[in-house]
Amino acid sequence: MENLQKFSAEKITNDLLPQKFGPRGKIWTASLLVVAAFGAFAYVQQLRKGLVVTNMGDYVSWGIYISNFVFFVAISLVGSLITAIFRLSNVPWRTPLTRISEMIAVSAITFASLIIIVDMGRPERLLNLFIHGRIQSPIMWDVIVISTYFCISLLLLYITLLPDIRLMIIAKEKLGKTFSKLYRWLGGFWKGTAGQEKIRDRSITILCVVIIPVAFCIHTVTSWLFATTYRPGWDSTNFGAYFVSGAFLVGAGGVVVAMYVFRRVYKLEHYITDRHFEKMGRILVMLALLYLYFNVNEYLVPAFKMKKEEEAHLSGLFAGEYAPMFWFAIMVGMVIPILIVVFRKGRKPLPMFIAGVMVVVGAWFKRYLIVTPTMLHPFLPKYDAPARYSHYFPSWEEWAITAGSLAGVLLLITLMARLFPVISIYKTINDHESELPS
């Protein structure tokens, strides 16, 4: 943020304080509310009639909900990537990205938890997971690790927000009184004393150390939900690393998209600069190459052996029913973003935004491909099953709930961006002051 040298602390504060929604912001929020409400309506239908409203059946018992769950879990990894890894490795340009990534992480993990409840069909049975849960089951591990990751992500967001909340309480004249009570309740006790600063700094460091193994656990355990079952496409020892690398990629892609949008909407060109896109571009291309490498391992090796049981699954992906989606996910989710971002010109904000969108969209379809085609190709032959069991296409209720959950994540990020600064004011001023010539 070398271009902030002429800026005063007041100017930085004014620039970064949360802003009221303009007409575009209101339309955006209203649109998200409509989609989320439609998803909620579809969920009510599902609650009333049961999972029969979905097109899941005896074979595809994990459909679009679980694909969506894996996607949300993946994108939530960004919190640990940007905040924890960058902080612990002392990456100097991380400040404008950390809050955005924490917001994405909290929103995504919230809806990952909710979509699992949707998939269960009977939400009142959630408690049974804790009362009668089997610690031997990877599903139980996932429940534990998701709730843990949610708490840690929330703590990380909250503790880093405290000094900014104080600034917002001070700036209540400018921000209005709408949320001042909330700010006082959340952080009115923060006075910025040396003791408080010391505890906060230490807490953030502890959180950054803890969140990395927990984040790795959440993705590894999610991958084990699949890999510990003996099925074509999932029977892999590589799945943990494959999922973690994919999660890093989609998380980084999500941050790039959010960086571009916030930069434009809140006019943060001085804070989220081309340099940040350049740096994130390098990271994105490295992560895309890494994920591509794991994909080659996941598909090429089984395809080379082409065991009888895997043949139908792999043929369906490479040249069959799922081929268009498979090649779309590979090309749009990995290859084309690499080709865009590998060149310096591709690491400018707009091409980066396009590459980020491609990564995120490709990642969603990739999760669908990980879950559904395998369910259609069990090792045991299908016997006396209706023909429709051999295909799966989500019902309108499934689409609506999925769209509603995606809108919910975006809505949560939007509301957080309305309530809190998307870039840490306190940290930006501190960085700025430390860069000023003494």
Binding site: R134, Q136, G188, F189, T193, Q196, I199, I206
Partner: protein, 301 residues
């Protein structure tokens, strides 16, 4: 040489004649390439049933025809003789148990003719087949003497008001297992002696039985031209009670939640306690920050 050739020709012709005159138990009706078969069954000397099978000849294979309606009659095709209706299943077989209304006829006669006929609607050409059987029962008995276990079986036909053992009849004696019957001795089939008794020595002592060591002995008469198919079972304590490993209740990865392996519990709980300990510590730190803030406010008045 010439005599040798003549002998061979006679033997060959005789064989061909034998094949030609051999009749199967049931009379088959063949229309175009579809076959209807009717067979008589009596299991455990209880209610007999008639089994009908519809099959289609495709190349050299006979394929089952599913969903063919078949009517079964006693003696001849007439509405008053209808015993029952059935529809063939995926194996091509349908069954009609003799109805209670047939009991008087059953008791009064010793020989029966069953006629099966398909609907003209279901088959392009109506098919018909019949089978004639004599009323008989199959009895099974066991004996142990000097450590030798013997199984005896008799097929008894109705003669007047008496049941008379049938001589020279072939009976299969076996042990019922999950997927079929094992032979009790060396031979698969035993022929009744001059008293009509079939006997075989039970040689398979180490056969696993149920939890009490019981096994089921089976005597069968199969596809007999005169008597049809009869089967009778008898449970005897001649098997070995299996000693099952009670591993289900041990701590394992596949047992219930309260029987998780100790190592897994220790590992999982230590991770959970470790991580949540940190989370709780951090929450406590937040309260400390809050307390410091209040103290600072009080100090500043």
């Amino acid at each position: 040489m010439k005599a040798n050739f003549l002998h061979k020709t006679i033997i060959l012709l005789s064989l061909l004649c034998c094949i030609g005159v051999t009749r199967s138990n049931a009379q088959d009706s063949v229309a175009s390439s579809t076959v209807l078969t009717v067979r008589y069954f009596l299991a455990s000397n209880k209610v007999p049933y008639v089994s009908v099978t519809t099959k289609k000849k495709t190349g050299r294979k006979l394929e089952a025809i599913n969903g063919t309606p078949v009517n079964v009659y006693f003696n001849e095709v007439a509405p008053e003789n209808l015993l029952g209706k059935t529809i063939t299943g995926i194996t091509g077989e349908g069954r009609v148990a003799l109805p209670a209304s047939f009991k008087a006829t059953w008791d009064s006669l010793n020989e029966f003719k069953f006629v099966a006929e398909t609907d003209a609607v279901a088959a392009t050409v109506p098919l018909s087949a019949d089978v004639t059987v004599k009323k008989a029962i199959l009895v099974i008995d066991t004996a142990s003497a000097d450590g030798v276990r013997t199984i005896t079986a008799q097929l008894k036909e109705r003669s007047g008001k008496d049941w008379v053992a049938v001589k020279d009849i072939e009976i299969k004696l076996g042990i019922k297992r999950l997927l079929g019957n094992l032979t009790v001795g060396d031979a698969e089939t035993y022929t009744a002696d001059s008293t009509g008794t079939t006997s075989a020595e039970f040689k398979k002592d180490s056969m696993p039985g149920d939890e009490n060591g019981n096994i089921i002995l089976v005597a069968r008469v199969e596809d007999n031209d005169v008597y049809g198919n009869l089967m009778v079972e008898r449970s005897v304590p001649w098997g070995k009670a299996p000693k099952l490993e009670q591993g289900f209740w041990h701590r394992s990865l596949w047992s219930t939640g309260n029987r998780a392996p100790i190592w897994l519990l220790a590992l999982a709980l230590s991770i959970i306690v470790g991580v949540w300990g940190v989370v709780l510590y951090l929450i406590r730190q937040l309260f400390r920050i809050r307390k410091m803030g209040r103290e600072a406010s009080l100090a500043n008045g």
